[in-house]
């Protein structure tokens, strides 16, 4: 039995995710849709916190909501044209999109309800049965090279990020 507080927080986050997701893809103004996306990301961070992944939630807010969104906003402003009509959708595309995403949703829901998932395990049980993830554990996981330790991917990601920065600068610079 989960606490009422948890349930309320869950519902707020879930409803926010659903509403802002829909708004993100239906809004005609790109800047607005980027803003809605920010709300979706923040709501996701809330769920991360609720699930007990504080570090992840912090990263989500810092990197996604903080870093990536800024990039989006810059890009939108840079490529913005007055009287942009690209947000206006024609019916044909809308139907195609609805059909495809509808089919996908049906498939996913079908999978959700037919998969042998442990429906009975509640969040509270899982939180108590699982151990608290400390920063030390995360740090060890990222800096070790043993089993279930990720030094190599970590380094690879670092190099990749560096490459992306350089690549981004090279591609986007003025000629």
């Amino acid at each position: 039995m989960d606490s009422v507080g948890n349930i309320i927080v869950y519902f707020i986050a879930a409803i926010a995710i659903a509403v802002f997701s829909v708004l993100t893809v239906t809004s005609r103004r790109i800047l607005r849709s980027a803003t809605y996306l920010l709300f979706v990301l923040l709501s996701t961070a809330v769920i991360y916190f609720q699930l007990g992944y504080q570090f992840l939630g912090a990263v989500q807010i810092a990197v996604y909501a903080g870093g990536i969104m800024v990039l989006f906003v810059f890009a939108i402003v840079l490529t913005h044209k007055p009287n942009d009509r690209s947000g206006v959708l024609d019916t044909h595309r809308r139907i195609v999109g609805l059909v495809a995403s509808g089919l996908g949703t049906v498939l996913l829901l079908f999978a959700l309800f037919y998969m042998p998932l442990p429906h009975d395990a509640s969040l509270a049980e899982c939180l108590t049965s699982g151990r608290e993830i400390t920063m030390q554990q995360i740090g060890e996981a990222f800096t070790g090279s043993g089993r279930l330790q990720y030094l190599l991917p970590f380094e690879a990601i670092s190099v990749l990020l560096l490459a992306c920065i350089i690549g981004g600068v090279t591609i986007a610079r003025k000629r």
């Binding site: 195609v96 999109g97 059909v99 495809a100 995403s101 089919l103 049906v106 498939l107 079908f110």
Partner: protein, 647 residues
Amino acid sequence: MEITLPILILAIPVCMFLLLGIGGVYMPRKVAGVLGILGMGTTMTLAYIVAFTYFFSGNPEFIIDGVRQQFQVFDVTWLAFTERLVVNLGFILDPISAMMLIVITTISFMVHLYSWGYMEHEPGFQRYYAFLSLFSFSMLGLVVATNIFQMYIFWELVGVSSYLLIGFFYKLPSAVSASKKAFIVTRFADLGFLIGILLLSFYTDTFNFISMTSNPEAVLSSTGGATFMGASVLTWAMVLIYVGGMGKSAMMPLHIWLPDAMEGPTPVSALIHAATMVVAGVYLVARMFPVYCVVDDSLTFVTVVGAITAFYAAVVACAQIDIKRVLAFSTISQIAFMMVSLGCAYDQPVEGVHYSGLGYMAGMFHLFTHAMFKALLFLGAGALIHAVHSNDYTKMGGLRKYMPITHWTFLIGCLAIAGIWPFAGFFSKDEMLAAMFSRHWFWGAWMTMVAGLTAFYMFRLYYLIFWWEENPDYKHHKPHDAPWQMSLPLIILAAVSCVAGFIPFGEFVTWNGEPYHIHIELPVAATSLIVAICAIGLATVMYRQRNEWPTRVKNMCPGLWMAAHRRFYWDEIYMFITHKIIFGGICTAIAWFDRHVIDGMMNAFAWVTQKVSYSIRGMQSGQVQAYVVWYFLGAALLAAVTWICLL
């Protein structure tokens, strides 16, 4: 016998061909001419030595107890099809091949000599002599063949030499088409020959003449009584082989090439299309004679074809304007005579027949004499053409005063071919008619009539050229006798035509090698002589001086005259078949079919592939959004399929 001489007989002409053919361009014409004549002269001498050795030496290789033997001087393997079916190249000496050696080398030498004068101013003189040498080689190789396949090899080679020589004036379209026609018609006949050889050799397992002819019954039994469409296989084989002979010897209905072949230089006509190559068919039948006798049907076929051809050619010869064409049809008729004679011979004694092999002997005798006087006539015609520059007798007339040598020699030739005593043709023709009468009176009577026609058209030709009425053009351009190189062969051949009849031919050439003493069959001789004289008389009345009789006769039945003049429309029929049906119908249709149906199928295949790929290409649009749609549709499809399967 030493093999040096026989090898030289074949080697000299072929070397001469290579020498003149390859090096001729770099030689002056005199050198080429002299080389050619010397080469042929040497060959002739050697051939005479070989032939005389064969006939007169009495060597047991050649004659045993008075019976002449067939002797293979050499016989080397050329190509082995299977272990037993081996093609050899060899040199056979027997009465007919020795006789042919003499005929070929003599005529060839005369023609070589004659051409020096006749072709003097023609371009390509060296080439001409090279081709003549090639022809002589091929013809000699043909007659000395030890096996039927060797004969086929040289048969093709003479065909090609003939093609090259007919088309010698290759800038004239008519010469080109004539040479083409000659080659293709004979080639068609050779197809029959080839299939005949295929059939025969399959059953006998040999190509060799001696093993076939020495035991013809074995040939028959080897076929095991196989039949095809009611006739025995051997009959088919022999008839098909004879078809080859019909082509070369211009029998109906494959005769159409010979008149056109007169487009070639006249000496060539004398050599190839009168004396030697065209008798190859006769020679072939004579060579295979014992085998023909086993299947009587095929021999009857030979006779019937010969009789029809002889009459047809004689009728057509009466209505020709071109003097060489008259001679060409006369040649066809005379060769048919020989064929009928061969067809009327037996290979074993028959009751009521005085000498069963008479037809064979007589046919060969006529081959010999005919070669001489027909070559003479052609060379004479050449001299006339040389003088008048036309083949057309309407451009001639009254030439006897201007060209005495030609006139007299031509007259001798005409008398010989008409069968007047004591010229050569009388003796051979008499023997032939006697043989025909001994087979059946009908053949004798029929061929006597043809002999009469022969006398008529030859003297018609003679009078129209030398008498009739002088052409007024002579005043501007006076015709004269030919130079000595041309006159000498005329005189020699005329002399031979006078005396050749007295050669005791039966002593030398008979079908089985046993000598036979020729004697004149008085009733037959008298009949044919009377018929000939009557015909000559008629010709004299009609054509000695310009008069209205020929026109009147012509007007009595203009249709017949026109038909004869147009050679009973054989050429038109052939034209229709080859051009309209084969070219226009079959070939064009097949070519169209290939381009449009077969290739069209391939192109259609390519087209469909292209269309399909164009239409599929739209899916690969490069638009990520479309891919996403496809992805979800595909995933849904897969899920649906899985679900259906799981149900």
